[in-house]
Homo-oligomer: 324 residues x 4
Amino acid sequence: MARGFKKRIQQENTENSGFGSRASGRFINKDGLPNVRRKGINVFNRLSWYHTMLNLSSFQFLSYLVVMYVFINFIFATIYYMIGVEHLTGIDKSNPLNEFIDVFFFSSQTFTTVGYGRIAPIGFLASLVATFEAFLGLLTFAIATGLFYGRFSRPRAYLRFSDIAVIAPFQNATALMFRLAPFKNNALTDADVTLSAAIEVTENSGVKSNFYRLETHLSKINTLALNWTIVHKIDENSPFFRFSADDFKKTNIEIIVHVRAFDEVFSNTVVQRSSYVSEEIIYGAQFVPMYYPSISEESTVLDLDKINQYKKVNLPNTEFDQQQ
Amino acid sequence: MARGFKKRIQQENTENSGFGSRASGRFINKDGLPNVRRKGINVFNRLSWYHTMLNLSSFQFLSYLVVMYVFINFIFATIYYMIGVEHLTGIDKSNPLNEFIDVFFFSSQTFTTVGYGRIAPIGFLASLVATFEAFLGLLTFAIATGLFYGRFSRPRAYLRFSDIAVIAPFQNATALMFRLAPFKNNALTDADVTLSAAIEVTENSGVKSNFYRLETHLSKINTLALNWTIVHKIDENSPFFRFSADDFKKTNIEIIVHVRAFDEVFSNTVVQRSSYVSEEIIYGAQFVPMYYPSISEESTVLDLDKINQYKKVNLPNTEFDQQQ
Amino acid sequence: MARGFKKRIQQENTENSGFGSRASGRFINKDGLPNVRRKGINVFNRLSWYHTMLNLSSFQFLSYLVVMYVFINFIFATIYYMIGVEHLTGIDKSNPLNEFIDVFFFSSQTFTTVGYGRIAPIGFLASLVATFEAFLGLLTFAIATGLFYGRFSRPRAYLRFSDIAVIAPFQNATALMFRLAPFKNNALTDADVTLSAAIEVTENSGVKSNFYRLETHLSKINTLALNWTIVHKIDENSPFFRFSADDFKKTNIEIIVHVRAFDEVFSNTVVQRSSYVSEEIIYGAQFVPMYYPSISEESTVLDLDKINQYKKVNLPNTEFDQQQ
Amino acid sequence: MARGFKKRIQQENTENSGFGSRASGRFINKDGLPNVRRKGINVFNRLSWYHTMLNLSSFQFLSYLVVMYVFINFIFATIYYMIGVEHLTGIDKSNPLNEFIDVFFFSSQTFTTVGYGRIAPIGFLASLVATFEAFLGLLTFAIATGLFYGRFSRPRAYLRFSDIAVIAPFQNATALMFRLAPFKNNALTDADVTLSAAIEVTENSGVKSNFYRLETHLSKINTLALNWTIVHKIDENSPFFRFSADDFKKTNIEIIVHVRAFDEVFSNTVVQRSSYVSEEIIYGAQFVPMYYPSISEESTVLDLDKINQYKKVNLPNTEFDQQQ
């Protein structure tokens, strides 16, 4: 089929996608991150500690903090214990375990600077270590403060994409359509979208991917308040011109979406990416509306659960296709 | 009137507003937020906790913090009480209430890390809980720090819009005018404005809104130091061409304003939106100047209280209209 | 002379400066802020607390913090004193003054959460107040943290402008020139400049200012590493075409400069403005170079003290002017 | 050779580089900072304290904090000691050294607000100093918090440039090529590059540098996921047209690179610069690919250690050159 397919595509490789034409697997994962692994140079230079912290889930992040906290106190407790409990006042000396427990709590009371004073350092060494533990504690919480702020002030688009794209009738022709909607209480304005397609072709030299910029019917929108349906009309300028349901199934296609908007709370540009591969494109379908007037007729209601709802339709001069 | 009205409008729907043409109620509320309610998916996924915190009023925000503080201490007090007051030193054991009061204060002294030590943990369990309460306290204040910063460093335009728009004489024709002024000690530069209009028309298929981009006489301004009067000349290219006072009253119109500027303290782009509906448009009026030289003639004074002041005027070849 | 002057200026008012043509006094102060006072609405709504804090000098800001600190402690000390010193342990009851001094220190130990515990609350009321003072203390330092960060992370261009502009020979004609240089260890790239002129003219209706966009010979620069001399060639397109030394002296002129660049440490756009009025324009002068190769010939040295150094020169077909 | 060389270059000086044509030494250091030293005005006005702190290495920064901490405590210890240890409770008065040690630890316990209370102020003076030390401590940690956040939230591109550029065959001609790759777990999009060349020429007036904008084959890229090879084709429009291997060796050339991209975690534009001088340009070489499909064929692997790997090649109608 590849030869016939190559005939079908008039215009050549138009995109500098940044992806290798011989890369393998999906280019953009569903979460919008490129499907690339990096090796070489050691892992510490290869990881941005800050990017990692910001990408952890809230649960992972908090667990990480707790584990660090316990660990640090354990280390210092050991140090105080080795220095000797006689350098601390108010220790329960009944047995070694109690001694260790008390120095552990002394450590935590120092690290958090709560410093009740029931247990307090008297000796030089213990005082010295405590001096630095309290200092370390404050720096640690200074870093935690920055991380918390970095995490929740990180501008994000909070867009929900439809899981599937459809090939629907559009202006006496067909169009590739998918939709997205902001799902949080954020106000996005001046949104624009960039669409490109990676299409795998077989050449004498083997399988390779070509990249095409896809034109969209309306690529800008003033206010992203309701859902936004992105429409790529399939005409002479589209690489999918004259594609049959079969072609969409048999060809390895990936539609790469890049949305950019302005968030008025962050006062910052936010971006979100996603991608659709062949399996996620439904031939001969149409999305059903997902907003309607409120009962009071005073405002509009956007129902986010409807984002994936579509109905099957016949396409102009193409046989209805049975699959799924 | 709708038919005659449709005749009058030459150019068609030019705007991709992002609002549904069948949405109901005002599109943009006076505060600039879109008049849309979201449903579907559960409320926690639908709310950005950070956006919510930043949109609270200062009073709401502080009340929220205080309530949280009391609530958390109450929880911990209960835990300490259940563990048993014998695990704490310096508790007033005269009666259960005093006991509870003392553990409550112990909790607060731990949470804030003030830790006087008059009341201090001795038992293992109490010490353990205190260890985590102090930790939790510091994290909580880390988050509070981020929220405070997020709240007051949030770039905002601090623009005041005139409550009303006017149809005033302009260059031997008429123009739709409204004005805005920065009302705080912020320095805005490179401001630009985008104007669009939603006009409701009746069709066989029922009532729907069309969107039009409105041209403005000067859509950019270097320094937003004084007030800025936005002027949309009503000529052949305006959807309001040949609109009578009556048309402005009878038709459902909404003028959507989007202002964007650069704030030199935030070093960030700030945006603000507003909108004017039919009731807020005064036919045959003119704004009065709101700035004048200072007595010393050394600087210029901008009087913000004058922003809504206008005087009635006759419009070229239109009868003077009586209403309001 | 105004009439002759009006004859001389071909092109009309090209700028939407945002300044009123009848405003009085200098438009932009030397520090770059517009010379406008706002009145109306009460002062609290008119001041952005954050903008004010960020614009204070370091000394003012720190003094402000110290005064607040002493004031708050004084208030709380009074409250504790009124509640009664018997609600606090370890108070020196020798005389009322000592009592007050001790509650004052207790207050500060609570507000900063240092809580030595030598003085500690025992009664219900004192404990309750202390509970909230510690809470307030932490919130206050949370805000201070944000303000400190806001102050020193505020993107600024750190540009030094020459105090004077010169009319110098340039390409067989003359040009208005001034120069600027980054004076701190910041790296600015992609800088561009916008020049406009306000020229006061006398009309039947009285004195008014016209605004003109001034073309600059090179308005963009890749890397702002050395000094940058801004050149406005005085040709047919310049409002200053055929201006004599006398005209420059007698006419009220203001050159408004707006520089915009990208700082690589802040990773943000930074802007700085300045302005030159007639008195600050020197007719028939030329700047002397302010950078030279280092002794080692390995790098270039920029001498910021030379920024205002110029030498007098004759201008093509204009008599040498004596003044100043 | 200079004359022959000047003949060779058709188009003239096209760039306003911001560098003096008579500056000496490399313009841009390998780290991307301009090779310029500033003098004049005193050093404190010339240094942005914040820029300095952000440019310190982590080790330098932490050492700086520790030194400050010890220093401040030493100062306050001295003050307390001079006030007299009798103003503090719980001091070990066995000998002056122990006294000083104890006041030092008291100071640190106050500065960090840990305040055990074993040592506590009783006298007026000591309490007063402690009041301000605790206050100072909190402000210091407020600043530290801001610095930590400023340091790790500072947007950076994390790009690795190839150490060398090559002159390689390209479209029946030759091209100057070098490559870069993101080496951390950051996601860069919408990257673009600006290339310029500084070429030293000898004139009657002496040696000077001319600046040229270099056209790049593809100057924009959607997603910077894999490596990016920047290609400047050497045709009639290139200042290097008809350059021989010898010319590249003998002429003082500097290629200045400026990359700009959008980082999705920082949600900010990030920039990075680098430069290549004659010694770093290899004539007749070609880079070897640095990415390949993963074993699973499920994703692509980018091997950062390969970034400098190249193989020698013959160039069209140029003799193979042996050197380096």
